[in-house]
């Protein structure tokens, strides 16, 4: 068995990579992929802890999170499509209608 701490460390690192991707990239699609990666790393911690304590609640939780992530991708990509239709760009720096 793998020690649970290693898996928690791995998912902390993956979460950070996703966060840096959100901060550093300007392409809305890649930012969105980074958010998916962050969700996935949290799922990994839940599965690891379900494995650690011999309890399936964590896995049920991950199942619900996956359903929510699927909905989020569908709606988010539709929003990106709408932005592209209006502004013809996926660069989030050019979407500044609300900027004061």
């Amino acid at each position: 068995m793998i020690p649970t701490t290693y898996i928690l460390l791995l998912s902390a690192i993956i979460f950070t990579i996703g966060a840096v991707g959100v901060l550093a990239r300007r392409n809305a699609l890649i930012i969105f992929m980074s958010i998916e990666m962050m969700l996935n790393s949290v799922n990994l911690t839940l599965v690891a802890l379900a494995n650690q304590w011999g309890n399936l609640t964590g896995q049920v939780f991950v199942f619900i999170v996956i359903a929510v992530a699927a909905v989020e991708v569908a709606v988010g990509l539709a929003i990106i499509m709408a932005i592209v239709r209006h502004k013809d760009t996926t660069n989030i720096d050019e979407v500044h209608l609300l900027k004061g």
Partner: protein, 168 residues
């Protein structure tokens, strides 16, 4: 499962994650993301979560990445620069903030949970039957609400992505 196997999987997971955020082209990012999800699915199998491993492959690798690729292909023709402008100060700030965040998290993880006992392993090895039992008894309400959420998301996606018609 041996530690060597875990180390190899972890290396692949980190490499594919870096590939996602470092690729210049969004298509390559989506393909790296596919690899990342498959590696994580393998890890789920190793952590006695067979059902979730399969769900991960079907939903994430099968549906979500394909949706991403569809959208990239759909809008790719109208967008010329998928490659983005260099804003060195923003990137440096992101890396610094990420490093601080990572240090904080590593500190928390390393400090709080060093003394985990030997993992118990999920009951029934996370098979479909084992996961279905709590899902359909204790957590029946969230499960049903998830279906409502999926319906709402489907309608929202259609409404948002539909071409606006001229209102007479």
């Amino acid at each position: 499962m041996s530690l060597i196997f875990f180390a190899i999987l972890a290396l692949f997971a980190l490499a594919t994650a870096l590939g996602v955020i470092l690729s210049k082209n969004a298509v390559y990012s989506a393909l790296w993301l596919l690899g990342h999800f498959l590696v994580i699915a393998l890890m789920y199998f190793a952590l006695s979560a067979q059902f979730l491993g399969i769900v991960q492959v079907i939903v994430y690798a099968g549906a979500i990445v394909v949706l991403f690729l569809f959208v990239i292909m759909l809008i790719g023709g109208t967008i010329t620069p998928m490659v983005h402008e260099a804003r060195p100060y923003a990137r440096a700030a992101a890396v610094v903030l990420g490093a601080v965040f990572l240090l904080g998290m590593l500190f928390a993880v390393g400090r709080g949970v060093t003394a985990f006992p030997e993992p118990a392993g999920a009951p029934g090895a996370g098979s479909v039957q084992a996961v279905a039992e709590p899902l359909y008894t204790t957590y029946l309400l969230p499960f049903e609400l998830a279906s409502v959420l999926l319906l709402a998301g489907m309608l929202g996606g259609i409404v948002l992505a539909l071409k606006e018609r001229k209102r007479s």
